[in-house]
Amino acid sequence: MIFSRGSFLLAGVAACSTAVAAASDSARPRGVGPESIQIPVSAVNDDYCDCPDGSDEPGTSACAYLSRNSALTAADRPGDSDLEEGEELTTALPGFYCKNKGHRPSYVPFQRINDGICDYDLCCDGSDEWARVGGTKCEDKCKEIGKEWRKKEEQRQKSMTTAMKKKKELLVDAGRQQMEVEDSIKRLEAELQGEEIKAKNLEADLEEIEKQERSKVVKGKKAGKVNVLAQVAKGRVEELRNALEEVRHERDEVRSRVMELEAILSTFKVEYNPNFNDEGVKRAVRGWEDYAVRGTADTLENKARDRDLEEIVKPDSDQTGVNWEQWENEEDSCEPDTIYKLAAYLPPSFVTFVEDKVSSLRRFLEDNGVLPGSDEGSTPESKAVTQAREAVNAAHSTVKELQKQLKDHKEDLETDYGPASVFRALKNVCITKDAGEYTYEHCFLDQTKQIPKKGGASVRMGSFVSISSVTIDVLNEAGEMVPEQRTSLEYTRGQTCWNGPARSTTVILECGEENQILKIAEDEKCVYSMVISSPAVCPGGEEDVPRGKDEL
């Protein structure tokens, strides 16, 4: 027998739960207090379960059924039939203790003891099969397995060291990037302040110019050929506008028909079941899917463009489009026109020169209130006012742009990039893995993607939403299932699945030297999980990294 029975051999009687203390690690949790149950020492490891916590059989599978995974009958609770129903069952040991001399000791689940299989991954000394059932013989392989393990362990340690180094680099990088953002914010704030002042000044200018303009007396009056041209042009434009309107109307009608068709097809896709067996129907559904991936009619709808068109078709007035009235009242005899006529006979460069001169002269005259603005008919606004207004607008938009940038940067600063913002350094870093018919791509904090190897469009499996965490069950060294928190990255709102929801991916991270996709699984239809190793989640290192200026 492989277990020392300690002093109990002398006593002749053992108590449940303490029996096991002699047989192995005394630090193990004890049973539910059945120390009061006395068993003869001969009952320890006799391949029959006497103790309600299994403590009498540390070396056999006899008590393997003592588990919340087994439905126990009254007679299955040895020596403890009075135990009330529903009371939590606690076993004395996590498993059979494998000494594994030459390697590391470990626990093997009791259900694997003497089942005819050498569980070398847990028990390299083969002691789990000591009864040699059915002639099973497990020789001691601890020497080689231990050696192999130590080699691997050494590599692992090395790899962990490298991983930590890499993590530090990531942290430094992340810190630097963060500082850059902070710097940018400061710079932007200063710039913004300047621009705001500038805008205010320009507003004041505009007000002044407008005041001057209102006092102006000279006005142009109606005359000449331009007016004729303007009328012809007006007619033509009117014609084109009508045509545009008609085309738009037709387009809308076609679009609504397409949408109707798409609605029919998408209902068809939902209501049709792929198991029912009509290849023609399935092909149609696949065709529709491919089509839908390229976007449907409603995605083609461009609101902005529509608004533009809306503007265009509005009748011309002084507010929108061409102000015909102005042109119809244009003075025909103005010198620029004479110069244009002349210009036809002159070399182009000269024309440009003359033009510039003339127009600047003219602007000068206009600006000083000598000439009326050539482009103003009944419109009271002068060029000067327009320019001043434009300047004000430009200044406002600069301010807005700066505000937006500032807001973005501030938001970015507030975004959770994980502990010490470590993921800042990985943002948009992409890694891929081949699995089955697809290559999977994960771009940190950006998106996940599925790229078919057989060709065809790639599919977005989700866009980044947040850094989160998941709990997974892991076996600890004692073979017990313990919950473990893992950092995860959530990606949602990917492309919608055939007969399913929009794709989403949970990326579960574990510590590793490289950023690497280890595993991809489709947990349910279009809900994916990726296990990814990354130095970013290796424990520690955050406290040693120099932080941003604000903390200095």
Binding site: A71, Q111, N277, G280, A521
Partner: protein
């Protein structure tokens, strides 16, 4: 008229609204009725039903035109031959050869054929190549024996005029009284009539006739509706019917019987309903035309994937049966005519059950079994069509399936997770996606690059893999197997004799024609390890879609005028098509490597009588609903009493996602299916038991472990089924054939002879269940030994979500193996626990069968078969096997396998204070003692005693004195 207009419009509007509403509701109903025929859409069913109506309407003024020609009657060596004359007109009589055989087994067989077709004196239309005779080769696929004619059967001299009487059966207690005109037979047992043929005059054999093109507007002389004689169109497919009308039909009456069971497969109650309308009845006959029915509906006589035309009638003290051996589309109408006393309703009242069998083509070929017990029916029927194969041991453990495990790594991952959570399982399954582009016998190189590595990992814990292989072969020139199928001319043909092409999973496909012996040989060759690369000896096969399912075919199957080997029309063989494939696969798996002979394991969806010899079945594509869970129990029970007990339903439901409650309850029910497999549709969430949140995970694990704990009892039950055809899970009537109140109960079941009675919870939110007890024996709760007693009553048993309601009937000894392991293969060397449940007399009995669970060595004595007896305070183990050349060697390997524990339920009070028992083992030098602990009864719970380590060898003879 005008005045009525406005209201009429309003009515019309209302009516349209109602119709519209109806359409909307109609969407919720899954099954596509328009895809499957109703009787009225199936020409011959319609004709025969109309014929029956006509006959019934005419009453006594009608006389069946069939007459047995007196001069033709000839009786010799247990067989009567003669000719039935069917009178068409004064001048024309059609000759129908009749053979009635009386078999040594006690069964009688009635065969009616048609002389003209038999002799080939007919002409087929459309220059058809089809065979002219009625299909007469079905025996080859279905019957394995015992057709030995009875030597004792004798012609009785006492027959009245116009009758012929034959005495046969055990001690000649059976009689067949043949009435000559109109032809009919009454079968009697002990002087009482139990089965009547053509008693109602529905016998109808549509004789051959040439097509006469009647001038426009004139009907046939008799007013026959000829519209479906020569051509039938359904769902855009036209059946050319080269032989014209050729159906066979007959009424079979069971006088005094109120319940008929059998004729699977239908999603319906065990006790079959009437089919001619009325409250609680069906409007349509039960149909048997193996079909891939999408999202089938419940409580329906609609056809499903398989069929076994065995019907048994049961009443207190008697069970009789008929087996209609015909593979063509078949419909069965059932009508019960009650007694005039309405208060008698069923129980006590005398009721006749009348069935009307209609098949589209073939012979009338009917077996009649006269019982008198349910066991007699299953035994005699089993002798005829074969008993359940004794499966490999893993096959009765837990199977984990999903459409699909997507990569070999995925499979390995699932495998590791089961171990991580310590949930036992034996088999993992691969649905169609493992193949390269749906080409069977290939692996997708991208997703399954290393199948061998995957199988090796499974083998490390003695686990198995099942892969799907369907009969449709992708029609693709560069696919070797497709090339071979076509070049060797082994595929099913269309009506013109060209290779038939239809659509299935791979798109354009051809079907291997296993009616062709050459095709079988070829099929066998495909499974050799060097041919089906990537398979090891732990790989087994799933034959799906073998109805056959043809996506673009009529009723999702092949055209009826397709031709099989020997030019039999598909119409003739349709229902047997599925098992011809399974048969070939079975032969293939027997010996995939020279010298390595193993019991095959095959799961089939389509089946017919005989399938039990070669395969397990499941109830096809069910749904994750409570109703589907509920119906699975009668469906599995019905298959069991119909000779095909290795049956199960997809645990969890195939379509849609089950709630955690439903999934848990389904596992608790599923452990009672002889075939226990979880399966899920590709669009569903993953639902492997370890993925389900606590406490459900533990509860499900407990259920699976409970199945594993009871595997010794299950394997013993399979053995019993393999030698005498007794169902593995048994309905109430089968166990208590005299208890009338239990005849219709089909929601609780007994596990074989173990006395274990369970009623799975099949509705939501339930915390108790009412179990019906037929007898006055004591029943004990399996877990806490609470006592229930009282015959003919329902007893309320607690059934919270964590509890499977199970009772143990007093009088049984249940063998168990209590140690959880990773797989059943790893339990091989584990010790046994015997649970001894004492009856009112303080006695109990049970059996145990053990063998290597893998090879056929048991046929040469390599097994242990014991009977345990507890009486007069002594438990004994007695050998009930017979020795063979391999017995000794096997016993030697099993020498260390022992009994570790005895649990005696409800022991006598005198045992109090007793602490030891005496163990006397044959071959031991001296008697030894083992410690015993006695626990008295408390709070309605029976007491029990536990004997520790009696240490007796499981294969040894021993006795233990208390």
């Amino acid at each position: 008229m005008a005045g009525t207009r406005p209201p009429s419009t309003r009515w019309t509007l209302l009516l349209s609204l109602v119709i519209l509403l109806g359409c909307l509701i109609g969407h919720g109903v899954a099954v596509k009725h328009e895809n499957f025929k109703k009787c009225s859409q199936s020409g011959f069913c319609n004709r025969n039903r109309a014929f029956a109506d006509d006959v019934s309407a005419k009453g006594s003024s009608w006389s069946s035109p069939y007459e047995l020609e007196l001069s033709s009657i000839h009786f010799k060596d247990g067989q009567l031959q003669g000719t039935i004359l069917k009178t068409i007109s004064a001048e024309e009589k059609v000759r129908l050869p009749l053979t009635v055989s009386f078999l040594e087994s006690g069964a009688a067989r009635v065969v009616v054929d048609e002389e003209k077709r038999l002799k080939g004196e007919i002409e087929l239309r459309h220059n058809s190549r089809a065979r002219k005779e009625r299909y007469n080769d079905i025996e080859k696929w279905v019957i394995v024996g015992d057709l030995e004619l009875s030597k004792a059967a004798t012609l009785s001299p006492e027959a009245a005029d116009g009758y012929t009487k034959i005495m046969y059966g055990p001690e000649n207690q059976f009689q067949a009284i043949i009435r000559h005109a109109p032809f009919g037979i009454e079968f009697q047992r002990d002087g009482e009539t139990h089965v009547q043929l053509n008693n109602k005059g529905f016998l109808n054999l549509e004789h051959w006739r040439p097509k006469v093109d009647a001038p426009e507007g004139t009907e046939g002389a008799q007013g026959d509706d000829q519209s479906t004689w020569w051509e039938e169109t359904f769902g855009g497919n036209t059946d050319s019917k080269p032989r014209g009308p050729e159906s066979v039909a007959m009424d079979i009456t069971f006088p005094g019987y109120n319940h008929v069971f059998g004729i699977p497969e239908h999603a319906d109650s065990l006790s079959l309903r009437e089919t001619r309308g009325g409250s609680g009845n069906h409007d349509e006959p039960y149909r048997m035309y193996n079909s891939d029915v999408f999202e089938y509906e419940l409580n329906s006589p609609m056809t499903l994937y398989g069929s076994i035309p065995l019907m048994q009638a049961h009443r207190k003290g008697s069970t009789v049966g008929v087996f209609w051996l015909n593979a063509a589309e078949t419909w069965v109408d059932i009508v019960k005519s009650g007694s005039s006393n309405p208060l008698a309703l069923g129980i006590g009242g005398k009721t006749d059950t009348q069935s009307h069998w209609m098949s589209e083509s073939g012979q009338i070929d009917l077996f009649v079994f006269l019982g008198p017990t349910p066991q007699d029916i299953t035994k005699t029927y089993g002798e005829l069509t074969g008993y359940t194969q004794l499966p490999q041991h893993f096959a009765i453990a837990y199977h984990q399936c999903r459409w699909n495990y997507v990569t070999d790594e995925d499979v390995k991952d699932v495998d590791r997770n089961f171990d991580k959570y310590q949930i036992p399982y034996d088999v993992i399954w691969l649905d169609i996606e493992y193949t390269d582009d749906r080409k069977y016998f290939t692996w997708d190189p991208m997703t399954f690059p290393n199948p061998i590595g995957m199988e090796e990992q499974l083998d490390e814990s003695e686990r198995k893999l099942v892969v799907i292989i369907d009969p449709h072969i992708k029609n693709q020139d560069k696919f070797t197997i497709s090339q071979e199928l076509k070049s060797k001319d082994l595929a099913t043909k269309n009506k013109d004799g060209e290779i038939y092409d239809g659509w299935c999973w791979p798109g354009s496909s051809n079907w291997v024609d296993c009616f062709n012996p050459e095709a079988i040989k070829w099929w066998i060759s495909l499974f050799k390890y060097d041919k089906f690369k990537g398979t090891l000896s732990n790989v087994f096969i799933w034959n799906d879609m073998n109805e056959p399912s043809v996506f673009n075919g009529p009723e999702t199957t092949m055209p009826k005028d397709n031709l099989h080997h020997g030019n039999w029309e598909h119409r003739d063989i349709h229902n047997v098509h599925g098992i011809t494939l399974v048969n070939a696969t079975y032969d293939a798996l027997l010996e995939r490597k020279k010298g390595e002979v193993r019991r095959p394991f095959i799961l089939t969806r389509s089946y017919y009588a005989g399938a039990q010899r070669i395969s397990a079945m499941w109830t096809g594509d069910n749904q994750a609903t409570w109703e589907h869970l509920a119906i699975s129990i009668p469906m599995v029970l019905n298959n069991g009493i119909s000779g095909y007990p290795f049956a199960g339903a997809d645990v969890g439901g195939f379509f849609h996602n089950p709630s955690k409650d439903l999934l848990t309850r389904w596992y608790q029910a599923g452990i009672w299916y002889p075939f226990f497999r979880a399966h899920a549709h590709i669009d569903t969430r993953r639902r492997e038991p370890y993925l389900i949140a606590e406490p459900y995970r533990s509860i499900i694990t407990q259920s699976i472990r409970l199945r594993y704990q009871l595997l010794p009892a299950w394997y013993t039950a399979f053995h019993e089924a393999s030698v005498n055809g007794t169902p593995i899970v048994r309905p109430q009537y089968f166990v208590h054939p005299a208890d009338e109140a239990g005849f219709a109960i089909d929601d609780q079941l007994y596990l074989a002879d173990t006395g274990l009675l369970t009623k799975p919870v099949v509705s939501e939110g339930v915390v108790t269940t009412d179990i019906y007890l037929a007898d006055d024996e004591k029943y004990y709760d399996y877990f806490d030994y609470t006592v229930y007693q009282g015959a003919g009553k329902r007893h309320t048993v607690p059934a919270p979500i964590e509890k499977v309601p199970i009772l143990m009937q007093g009088g049984h000894i249940i063998p168990r193996k209590d140690r959880p392991r990773r797989s059943s293969g790893l339990m091989k060397w584990d010790p046994y626990t015997l649970v001894i449940v004492l009856d009112k007399q303080g006695e109990a009995e049970g059996t145990l069968y053990v063998d290597d669970g893998e090879t056929f060595d048991y046929e040469r004595g390599a097994y242990i078969h014991r009977r345990f007896n507890f009486r007069e305070s002594t438990l004994s183990s007695e050998d009930i096997g017979s020795k063979g050349p391999k017995t000794a060697a096997y016993l030697k390997t099993m020498a260390d396998v022992r009994v570790e524990k005895l649990v005696i339920i409800d022991p006598p009070q005198e045992w109090q204070g007793k602490t030891a028992v005496t163990v006397i083992e044959e071959g031991a030098k001296a008697a030894s003692t083992a410690a015993m602990e006695y626990h008295g009864q408390s709070h309605g719970k029976a007491g029990y005693a536990v004997v520790k380590n009696p240490n007796t060898g499981i294969g040894n003879t021993w006795r233990i004195e208390f």
